[in-house]
């Protein structure tokens, strides 16, 4: 994740820029390059392939049968039904579609200078009712670009303020938000108050004790909101049980918090450093929350508290620089192996806007050069995020009965030289086209 120079000034030039941006986007849509191609349904049998099931053993020379959108059979003795479309997988490897559990997919097309395409951060400090699913553009060009790299499911989450809003789990398929949706309101994103001098360069040096005071104040405001939400939920329940009581005044923000403060759904806390993660753990214990950490640079240092409270970590720091000069150069590549050794449940994700989510396999693979097992690196972008996102009954591995989100690749899917040859989402065979392949086709022969 990168710091961005959010600049929302609105002069005439900016208006012109927005207008020209819109016109170019609509042109691009007119030629089809941004539309979310739906592919075709059918019964497909991938035969003679190396099947990396992730949940079980690798099957050499096996068959994966796709029927009615689901995986209908996996193994060496699978009967291929008559009329099934057969794909020869000789020399190819079959993987479950990868899952990126931390993105802003569909919420930000052009983050810098394209403010009209950015919907990641709402105004105000507490926006529990803001839902990412309502801002996701099903026709973002990032969607096709990402899925042809083998990533089929993502969590898209809002940022901004302390309570940023609710994150959505989506498949990278569909013409509407509903079609894409796997879990439209999976979790509540809270940027846990921390001592940080962001903007300090611009605004001059800020006294450290003042920063501590500001953190404490934001934390108090967060706690007050949680207490308000608890009271609101109790009043609402009481009224539902006894309509003679005075009807509570609807408060959309507090109402949105109900399933989260009651531990029915996870709160996703962004936190990086040990001290902040320990503070999150304390908060989770105090309010008895179901929780997940996003970020997690130093999560391995807080293993005991994380495990005790069943808090998983969505790690988004493979492609970041160590924070302190005297941190080991590979500290952020090593962190996942330390989490694995400590027994923390984790996934590796990009934390990217959308355009660069396709680096997911390399973000995971690189950590396997620094201590993590290759098996864990693969699981960290398939089965582990599926478990953390509560969708492992349908996604994350190749097992009979699961949704057919399947990638057929030329080799190890975490390797940058590996290419994707076939792609299935919800059992539909998806064309391997994107804005990029279309521009490639248009310009590649100018060299002749």
């Amino acid at each position: 994740m990168r710091l961005r120079n959010w600049d929302l000034g609105f002069g005439i030039l900016r208006v012109l820029a927005v207008v020209s941006l819109l016109s170019v986007l609509s042109l691009a849509q007119a030629d089809g390059s941004q539309q979310n191609v739906l592919g075709r349904a059918g019964t497909f049998a991938i035969i003679n392939a190396r099947i990396v099931t992730v949940s079980g053993e690798v099957i050499e020379n096996g068959t994966v049968l796709i029927q009615d959108g689901k995986i209908a059979g996996v193994g060496t003795g699978v009967q291929v039904p008559k009329g099934a479309e057969t794909i020869d997988g000789k020399g190819l490897s079959v993987y479950p579609g990868m899952i990126d559990a931390a993105t802003h997919m569909g919420l930000s097309e052009v983050p810098l200078g394209g403010a009209s395409t950015v919907d990641v951060a709402e105004v105000g400090d507490q926006n529990a009712n803001a839902k990412a699913i309502l801002g996701i553009n099903p026709n973002s060009s990032h969607i096709n670009v990402t899925r042809v790299a083998g990533i089929t499911t993502v969590l898209s989450f809002p940022t901004g303020g302390t309570i940023a809003g609710q994150a959505a789990v989506i498949n990278l398929w569909g013409s509407t938000q509903d079609q894409m949706s796997v879990d439209p309101t999976f979790g509540l994103v809270i940027n846990f108050p921390r001592v940080a001098a962001f903007g300090g360069f611009r605004f001059g040096r800020v006294d450290f004790n003042e920063l501590v005071r500001r953190r404490d104040q934001r934390l108090e405001e967060l706690k007050k909101t949680f207490r308000d939400a608890e009271a609101y939920a109790r009043i609402s329940d009481a009224y539902k049980a006894d309509k003679t009581l005075p009807a509570p005044v609807t408060d959309v923000r507090l109402e949105a918090l109900t399933p989260y403060i009651r531990g029915q759904k996870p709160v996703i806390f962004t936190a990086e450093r040990e001290r902040d993660i320990l503070a999150v753990i304390k908060f989770v214990e105090e309010y008895k929350l179901k929780a997940i950490i996003v970020g997690g640079q130093e999560a391995w240092k807080a293993a005991a508290g994380l495990k005790k409270n069943n808090i998983a970590v969505i790690y988004t720091n493979s492609f970041n620089l160590p924070v302190q000069d005297d941190d080991a150069y590979d500290s952020l590549w090593e962190a996942p192996s330390k989490m694995a050794k400590a027994g923390i449940k984790f996934a590796i994700s990009t934390g990217e806007d959308g355009g660069n989510v396709r680096d997911l396999p390399y973000q995971a693979g690189m950590t396997a050069g620094y201590g993590l097992s290759k098996d864990d690196a693969l699981k960290a972008v398939t089965l582990y995020p599926a478990e953390i996102l509560g969708i492992a009954d349908k996604y994350g591995s190749i097992e009979t009965g699961k949704m057919a989100n399947i990638v057929v690749a030329t080799g190890d899917i975490l390797e940058p030289r590996t290419d994707v040859k076939y792609l299935f989402i919800n059992g539909r065979m998806i064309p391997l086209t994107s804005r990029h392949t279309e521009l490639f086709e248009r310009f590649k022969d100018r060299v002749k």
Binding site: R2, L3, N5, D7, G11, L13, A17, L21, V24, E109, V110, P111, L112, G113, G114, S141, H142, A197, G200, F201, R202, R205, D207, F208, N209, V212, F319, N320, L321, P322, V323, Q324, D325, D326, A328, Y329, D330, D353, G355, N356, P361, Y362, G365, M366, A368, G369, Y370, K374, L414, E415, P416, R417, R435, H436, L439, F440, F443, K444, R446, V447
Partner: protein
């Protein structure tokens, strides 16, 4: 900064460098039994490299070395040339002199910080040299410097002395200040459009041509009074005379082509189009002029002029005969240039050696340093990386990095050093000055150490940040 402080800092650098004393005296090194990706003459299996006095003396099988030579057993390992990053702002304490639209009088040589930790981190990822560029805040920026990352050395050891001089130009969103805000009462800086950017550059070259003529006339005796030196125009005269390389930041193919046409008009060759994320659209026009292109493999969509980028860019340019390099423009991306190079094999099918050249020999060619570095050939500087696996595998990592035969990164020693550093850190934390003020968990009344993050093209002197390449 006072002299004592400078001396202290230089001492600190020497002490911080974990590798200085033991390894740098060895002037003969034999790397044995490696798979060598030469980037020049294919891949050599089970082969040795003999390094003498900083140069590659021999390449072959079963080479013999003197009794005092350091022998590195590289069985099962891979050796590549040191990676060269053709677009970086590492170790710069200032990146943009953005107050004027033409700042050719400035140069980043005056802003080098040899104790920037990103140098060591780059070495740990196999990067040995970099083109340190001025930022892109103005149409004609400052002069560049091409360095080798000689971590632990004094700053004057960093620049490659015989590297041709260069200068940064910039087109598009950044020089027209799309992402900057104009304060109330402030006049916007010219230019604000792509029209104005081209006129700014053309005007500067017209002035440079007149200035050159005034000197030519004086030298020919046509005029009697020596012209006043103009430090803004001197570098541009050098460009016209082919003595200074132009590295031109830009995204849209139309404006890069317009710059190439200005270069045609004034009779010089643009050395590199930097970023050039749409260069694939004008590949034949670039190839015809012998201009190089230095790109990101697939980083895109972060701003509007980066929206037409495709990962096949490298392939299309390569096929058209353009010398392509892959750069980082970022202290973090710099740490995975091998992966970015590997990707071009997938997108279009650039062969392995040509992909490797995009982070080694090709940037060396673009920077005019290919006679001394960029490939593994006898007579070249021994700038080498030993990897524990194929450098294009995501699972591989550098084990050792050499510059001119000296070891600047050794993973085994780095790891061994960590317990020492951790002990030192704990001892420092116990010092009075580092104790909490009230003993109650709050820290002393001072600003915590935050790393400078202005390693980007558009970062201002004040350290404004952004993804504004």
């Amino acid at each position: 900064m006072n002299r004592a402080l400078i001396i202290f800092l230089m001492l600190a650098v020497t002490v911080m460098s974990p590798l200085s004393a033991a390894t740098q005296s060895a002037r003969e090194t034999l790397i044995r039994n490696a798979t060598i990706l030469t980037a020049a003459n294919g891949t050599l299996e089970n082969s040795d490299i003999l390094i003498q006095n900083g140069k590659i003396a021999k390449i072959g099988k079963n080479l013999k070395a003197g009794a005092n030579a350091v022998v590195v057993d590289a069985t099962g390992k891979f050796v590549t040339p040191g990676i060269i990053d053709c677009h970086s702002h590492s170790m710069l304490d200032a990146i943009n002199e953005g107050s004027l639209s033409v700042t050719s009088m400035t140069g980043v040589r005056d802003a080098l910080n040899p104790k920037d930790i990103t140098i060591y981190r780059a070495l740990a990822s196999g990067v040995t040299a970099a083109n340190l560029l001025h930022g892109s805040a103005n149409s004609i920026g400052g002069k560049n410097v091409v360095v080798k990352f000689k971590w632990g050395h004094p700053v004057e050891d960093y620049p490659i002395q015989d590297a041709p001089a260069g200068i940064k130009f910039a087109l598009g969103e950044n020089p027209k200040r799309t992402h900057g805000t104009v304060q109330a009462g402030q006049t916007p800086r010219y230019p604000r459009t792509r029209m104005g950017v081209m006129e700014t550059i053309r005007d500067a070259f017209l002035r440079a041509r007149d200035y050159k003529r005034s000197w030519d006339d004086f030298k020919a005796g046509k005029t009697k009074i020596e012209p006043r030196r103009d430090l803004e125009l001197e570098p541009l005269v050098e460009v016209i005379e082919g003595k200074r390389l132009v590295h031109a930041h830009g995204y849209r193919s139309d404006e890069h082509l317009n710059l190439l046409k200005i270069a045609d008009e004034f009779g010089f060759r643009v050395a590199t189009l930097q970023h050039g994320l749409e260069a694939y659209k004008i590949a034949p026009e670039i190839a015809k002029r012998g201009t190089g292109v230095s790109i990101f493999t697939d980083y895109w969509s972060y701003k509007f002029e980066a929206y037409d980028t495709i990962p096949y860019n490298a392939y299309i340019l390569w096929k058209a005969g353009v010398v392509v390099s892959i750069n980082s423009d970022d202290d973090e991306r710099m740490r995975r240039l091998n992966i970015d190079a590997a990707k071009v094999m997938r997108y279009g099918g650039v062969p392995e050696q040509d992909a490797l050249r995009m982070i080694t020999l090709n940037p060396a060619k673009q920077l005019g340093i290919d006679k001394r570095t960029g490939s593994i050939e006898v007579g070249k500087d021994a700038d080498l990386v030993i990897w524990n696996g194929h450098p294009f595998s995501v699972y591989s990592r550098p084990e050792m990095t050499f510059i001119e035969g000296d070891v600047y990164f050794d993973r085994a020693k780095d790891i061994a050093q960590r317990t020492v550093l951790e002990k030192e850190r704990q001892e420092l934390e116990k010092l009075d000055v580092n104790k909490p003020a009230n003993g109650g968990g709050t820290t002393p009344n001072r600003v915590p150490s935050e790393r400078r993050i202005s390693d980007r093209d558009d970062a201002d002197q004040e350290g404004l940040t952004g993804d504004n390449k």
